[in-house]
Structures are given as structure tokens and as C-alpha cells.
Symmetry: C2
Subunit: 284 residues, 2 copies
Amino acid sequence: MELWFSEMHTENVRFSIKVDRQLYSGQSEFQRIDIFDSPEFGRFLTLDGFMMLTEKDEFIYHEMIAHVPMAVHPQAKNVLLVGAGDGGVAREIARYDTVKNIDVAEIDPEVVRVCREYLPQTALSFDDPRVHVYYEDGIRFIRRCANQYDLIIIDSTDPFGPGESLFTKEFYGSCHQALKEDGIMVNQHESPFYAEDAKEMRQAHKKIAANFPISLLYQAHIPTYPSGHWLFGFAAKKYHPLHDFHADNWSKLGIKTKYYNPGIHRGAFALPSYVEEMLNDARS
Amino acid sequence: MELWFSEMHTENVRFSIKVDRQLYSGQSEFQRIDIFDSPEFGRFLTLDGFMMLTEKDEFIYHEMIAHVPMAVHPQAKNVLLVGAGDGGVAREIARYDTVKNIDVAEIDPEVVRVCREYLPQTALSFDDPRVHVYYEDGIRFIRRCANQYDLIIIDSTDPFGPGESLFTKEFYGSCHQALKEDGIMVNQHESPFYAEDAKEMRQAHKKIAANFPISLLYQAHIPTYPSGHWLFGFAAKKYHPLHDFHADNWSKLGIKTKYYNPGIHRGAFALPSYVEEMLNDARS
């Protein structure tokens, strides 16, 4: 027997993964949640049929969304994660002793429950006493926050369904207000390659750049996301991701990583010319 | 009706592209050659069923394999392309006025003929009077060359079938001999992500590093290649790809590119930690 999971990367491009078994399938209040086991990628999580993470390549996404801002902020103590119900971002942030508190605003308790049961590789971070999960829509949670976080990481789904509100001008404005005066916001920022993803990417950049004096994008190779070329947004009130990056200080921490390193940190902000042009157009 | 082209990226991962029409299918002395037209990628070329190029993303591969060495070598006049029967690399190299001669050693005349007919976007370079095509196996062609090329670019298929000899120690040794004392060799260097590709990548690096004093890898995002994370090898007798890279000189040429730029040049050599570890292991 053959069992294949397929995701449409566009209506004309399909990415398929051979599956051993479906380990879980359920419908929460917000979305359909599935866990599969596969020979190539190990276990993987999908929400409404869209790939969220695989055991094989989740290190790339989670390291790049977490270590880039942590290596720039000299003393991040209080961190907010929006979405992030699989625990992967919290796992990377929890590796810093300077961090005293990690709030997670995840709309869907079922995502956390299912990941704790089937994806211990990422969900183990929920056992860290510094991690506090609030089951609430990120946009509602953040409205009542002011001047309190050093770092906000938006680990959202795509800009439709439960993740849609996390791509609005209002939400980015609330993040700005929730950050301290030297705070940093990082978000998953879609992809520049396929037209639909690129449209979302340009719109998000326009809204973020309107709220933050420093707003740049950086990239990583994520094989299981559409086109494999994925972007992250780095927005800050004070720190520049390259000028305020001190590689030696980060290296001294002795954090062992599989993708991120100081060279990658600098290199990731060098974007292809066609992407730079898209961003210039979005800002103008 | 629906028509889909599929390529197995591993035996457990399949990448599929919706096809409008098959424009050409033929069997040459060396391989099966197909041209398709597709809504997402425009026309694309496959050899023995493996994706070679699409009209939508070929600029990434061809710019990165050509402009990186051209921006390092201060005065490349005589260039050899091995494989490259679609004309894409020659098109990029021909944009430099300093280049006086471009030899192309392509084993399969049918590839050139079919690309001239169906892929004018890349094959137009064959009309440049500086381009000379030799229909011969690259390894045979290069054996009789000595101290004559400033730059050799190996635009090969994967290390099996007609491209296999282009991944041998003998071939890299002959390239070293065919280059002038300040010559550069660049090759497509497979991918680090899936195990089979990564094995070929490590073996190629080991053989190249044994022949050249300077041997580094750089990367690009190529959505239609397995994992989207593709590597190129930069090997040289004298020039270091970063220390001898003078961005201003390249920018002054006014060559308009869609992916390559001086920031990408530097950033592309910053590899993920797991790739650096693979390369260290290969060299030791």
C-alpha cells in the first residue's frame, strides 16, 4: 500500500510526502489538525492541510526565527510568542539563561495538546517553568499589553483562517505598543517566489514598515515550505539586526545550533535583487 | 483534462507541476529529452525525467553560477562551459565585454538543437559570435587543454548517466590543468538536504578540495530543484571568492540582474552549520 500526503503550493504545483501512518486527525474549534509519520521527514504536523513542521527540517525555521533577534538584543528577559503552539520557538528561546519569562498566546488548546502527545521534539519546552501558555487569540491578548516585552515572535499560520488577524495593521501597532523602547518583533513573513505568497509578503512588509523605524527581511532555506525560500521580518524600535549584532557575544554563549551561525545571520539579510525590488515597491 | 509532470526528489518525496502540453519528446544517443509548457513555470526542460530548467526560475541558477566567479576574476577573457547545452550560462557570461571567447563542451547535440527550438530565452546565446560549441564529452575535451582558460563552469546533470564523469577526480584534475595560473572553476554541486544528494555533495567537495588550494561552496534558493537548497562549488588557484571580490568594480559594469547582487555574493558563502560540518567531515 502507498499513502501520500499532498499540499498544493500553488494551484499548479503539488508537493507530496510518502506517509507511513496517520497518527492523529481531529477537528478543533478553529481548524483541522493532523499528525503523520513519514520515512523522509519523520513526524509532521499539518493545520487545515497546510504543512506546519516536520521533525527533519523544523530546526531551520525555529532556529532562524529565534536566534536572529536573540543575538541582536543584548538582554532579552521577557518574550512573547504568538501562535507557536508546537513549542519549537519556545524551545530555542528557552536556551538563553537571560530569558526569565516566555508567554505563549496560542488560540487553539488542541494544537498544544496534540503536539505534546505526538511531537515531544518541539513540545518539550512547555515543561519549562518559564513558559506560560495563554489560550487566546494573539490580537486580543496583545491589546492589553504595553511596554513590557523585549521580544515578540509571531509564529503564525498563513494570512487566512485563524492566522489572518496576525497580519493586520492593528496587530502590528499593538505589538509596537507591547514592546519596550528597545524591543524587537520578528514574524514569519511568507515567501517571495509564488505570486500569492509574494503578495502577502509585500502587504505584511508595508504594514510593518509603517509601524517600526527599523524593518528588514531575512531568509532561510526551508525545504517543506512552498518554494523552499522563506522569509522572516525583523522589526525594531532601536536595534539594527546587523549594526547591533555582536557575533562574539553570541558565540560565547556556547549555544549549539544546526542551521544558525553568525555567518548565516549576516548572510540571511542579503536578499535577491527581485525580492529587494518587491520590498521597495511595497514601501513606496 | 489534467496533465502533471512529477519528479521524485527522493523515493519518498514527489514534486509535481501542472502541464499544459508536452511540446517535445525525443530520445538522443545519450538521454531522453522533454520540453513541457506549464502555467506556473512556463516552459521547462527535463533530461531523463529530471528537471533541468524552467523559464520562471532559471535566472537564479544561471546568474549564480556565472556572476559569482566573473565578479571575482578581474579579467576573464577565455571561458569554458562544460555541459550547458541550454545556453543559459553562456547568456550570462556573454554579458561581459571583457570575455572574448566562450567554448561550450556539450556531449549531446540534440540538447542544443531542442533548446534552440523551444527555449530561446536561454539558447539565444548560441548566436553570439564569441560562443563556440564542441559536441564532445567534457572529460575528453578537457584532457587536451592546458593553461588556457580563465574560468571553467561545469553545468552538469547529476552524477549518474551522461554527467557521471564530470564528478571524477580525473576530471577535476584536468580542469586544474586547463586553467591558467589564476583560473577559477565553478560547478553545480548538488544539495545538502536529502541524504543521496548530500552524499554526492560531500564526495565532490572532497575531490575538488584535493585539487585546488581554494575550495568553497556557496548556495542559492532554486525552487524547482530538490529541497530548493542548491550548492555551487568555487575552486581557484589564486583568487578567494570573498577576499578578492570587489563589489564596486562589478557594480560599475551596470549588469542588471534579478537574483545576484554584491550582498547575495557575500551572503551565499555563509552556509548553515550542518552543511559546514558535512564539508569539514568530507575534507578530513
